[in-house]
Symmetry: C2
Subunit: 353 residues, 2 copies
């Protein structure tokens, strides 16, 4: 795991085409057909472009390990059923998460193109990267999106004392024909575990609303917190939202949910049976591109127009930071952690075609 900020300036640098090729070859080297490897590389590349490097090509490590020991199926045959005109049920056949995610996204976009709305439920999947790449791809084709996935359990039910639900991410996107879309991608915990690990390394106490100890009591001790559970945002509200995401991602999709989700770190050799949902709405059915562009511009202007409480720190809109990084890295090149690049090259060397 690494973050964009931690990547030093002498690390390997790529342009988008080079990194797409290297990433695709790496997943081919891990046994994926070329077209499937390209899907996975597309999502992870966008993650790195957004600066979400913990969810980018650094995942080659865990994905690669699980592919090599058969925990993920390199030759997944993904099936898409259409039980109703606007509904798609995607069986991921335990494929690499971003591959299943891209199939589900395309299935939902196909349905939305003809029906105005398309919903895809995916099962038999794995960690599918961050949500923003899917939200951006959808937005670029004119679709507003609400997307979620369930995850390995790290959160105790509100008032409970053991991990029974995942820090399930929820995201949305709204296209903007006149500029940048709005993109949000968030998990329901107050912070990620990485932030607690950082506090422990720095020898610092943590705020008491970040996590509980192993008995489910709020704690300011990062060590106790790492043995305990993450706390959801807004207490019972975040608990409810995390359940919403799991009910739609896991229960309705016919995937695993709550404690039935296998942990990719504790049981890497087993299928996780993760689930996702994609709700796509074709905004071209709601109004003209001019209509939408005008409203999106006005919406952003209203938010940007609020005087900052801290001088020099203007109000931002969802996705603004990530899309700024994407543009800068597209212009100036993408830097990746040297260890990640070495691993990509090692796997790419095994690609056969």
């Amino acid at each position: 795991m690494t973050t964009a900020a931690a990547v030093p300036q002498d690390t390997p640098q790529f342009n988008e085409a080079e990194l797409t090729q290297l990433g695709t070859r790496a997943f081919q080297g891990l046994g994926l057909p070329r077209e499937d490897a390209a899907d996975v590389a597309r999502v992870l590349l966008l993650a790195d472009l957004f600066g979400l490097s913990t969810h980018g090509f650094s995942r080659i490590e865990s994905y690669g390990e699980r592919l090599q020991i058969g925990g993920i199926n390199a030759r997944a045959r993904i099936k898409v059923d259409a039980p109703a005109p606007a509904l798609r049920l995607v069986d991921g056949d335990n494929g690499v998460g971003p591959l299943v995610g891209m199939h589900a996204l395309r299935a939902a976009m196909d349905a939305a193109r003809t029906q105005g709305v398309g919903v895809a439920f995916a099962r038999g999947s794995n960690h599918f990267g961050p949500i923003s790449p899917y939200g951006l791809i959808a937005a670029e084709e004119g679709f507003a999106s609400i997307i979620g996935s369930n995850a390995t359990t790290t959160i105790a039910p509100w008032g409970g004392s053991d991990a029974r639900l995942g820090n399930s991410p929820l995201g949305f996107g709204v296209p903007n024909p006149g500029g940048d879309p709005f993109l949000l991608d968030m998990a329901m915990s107050v912070v990620a575990r990485a932030k607690i690990r950082n506090a422990m390394k720095a020898g610092q106490a943590i705020p008491d609303n970040w996590a509980t100890d192993a008995a489910g009591k709020a704690t300011t001790d990062p060590k106790a917190a790492l043995d305990g559970f993450l706390l959801p945002i807004g207490g019972h509200k975040g608990y409810g939202l995390a359940l919403l995401v799991d009910l739609f991602s896991g229960l309705l999709s016919n995937a695993a949910y709550l404690t039935h989700v296998q942990s990719w770190s504790d049981a890497p050799e087993q299928a996780q049976n993760l689930g996702h949902f994609f709700i796509l709405i074709d905004t071209s059915r709601l109004g003209s591109p001019q209509w939408l562009a005008e409203r999106m511009k006005d919406f952003a202007a209203i938010l940007h127009g609020s005087e900052p409480t801290v001088a020099g720190q203007p109000v931002i809109v969802p996705g603004e930071i990530e899309l700024g990084k994407l543009q800068r890295q597209r212009e100036q090149g993408i830097r990746l952690d040297a260890a990640v690049v070495a691993l990509l090259r090692q796997h790419a060397a095994n690609a056969r075609d």
Copy 2:
């Protein structure tokens, strides 16, 4: 405004049929056609049954005042367009919120019945009550739902210093053919303003994550907080979620959004042009009732099975409290605040047919 807990035991008591009739007559007395009045009464009655009395028949006061001065249109002609098979655009014609909400809910359910998924966007609306009644009605017909509405501005953008977005509610429901559905209905602020008012009355400080003062700085002084803005759950995360709800409820629906939403309290005589969205999924297309009932039972059992951190306070699932109150009040009768009943009777006396 009152809460269920505050209603003394000597207040008027009704059964469901009596209160439905009185509520319907009251809105007829305010000028609504009988069928429209019945829609409004249905939503507000469910709110009171759930114990959400601040969003139940107590609203007759503000709805009634606005109907009488023409701020809400008593004779709204609600139009529903279908720009695509799974999409519905509802023009509420500035009707009473729950009336517009019920039209949009039915439109989305109609679309979902044939397409598997139905999405309705409503504009030209007003405060539509709580979300749980819509979620319950949908769940009883087998539809999973995600529903939201925008609202008068009470929250500053994250890092900003004036109210530019509403405390927009978001809710969901998942049906359970074998028992109680899951229902969630939440706003994005850490607490409602009522809780800050209660702290002020009690002379108590408030936690510093509830609200800011008028300059946008976090405060523990309830008086300063009431002059300031509510803080969203999870800081920037709740800010993002509140924007999601407004983007779908207001921007995409062609309603007002952010600061364009008129305040029902500051400008009761003006149309608010509030917006809502209803996303409905027909769960019968996903699996059999037995399949769903079994998964819902297991899902709840996993959560209930977590040992409580505080003895005697078991983990609950979303909607459990509200559905428990609903059942108790259906059996034992519904108690309403005497002032609310007096107002209902006063308006009902004006009903003509």
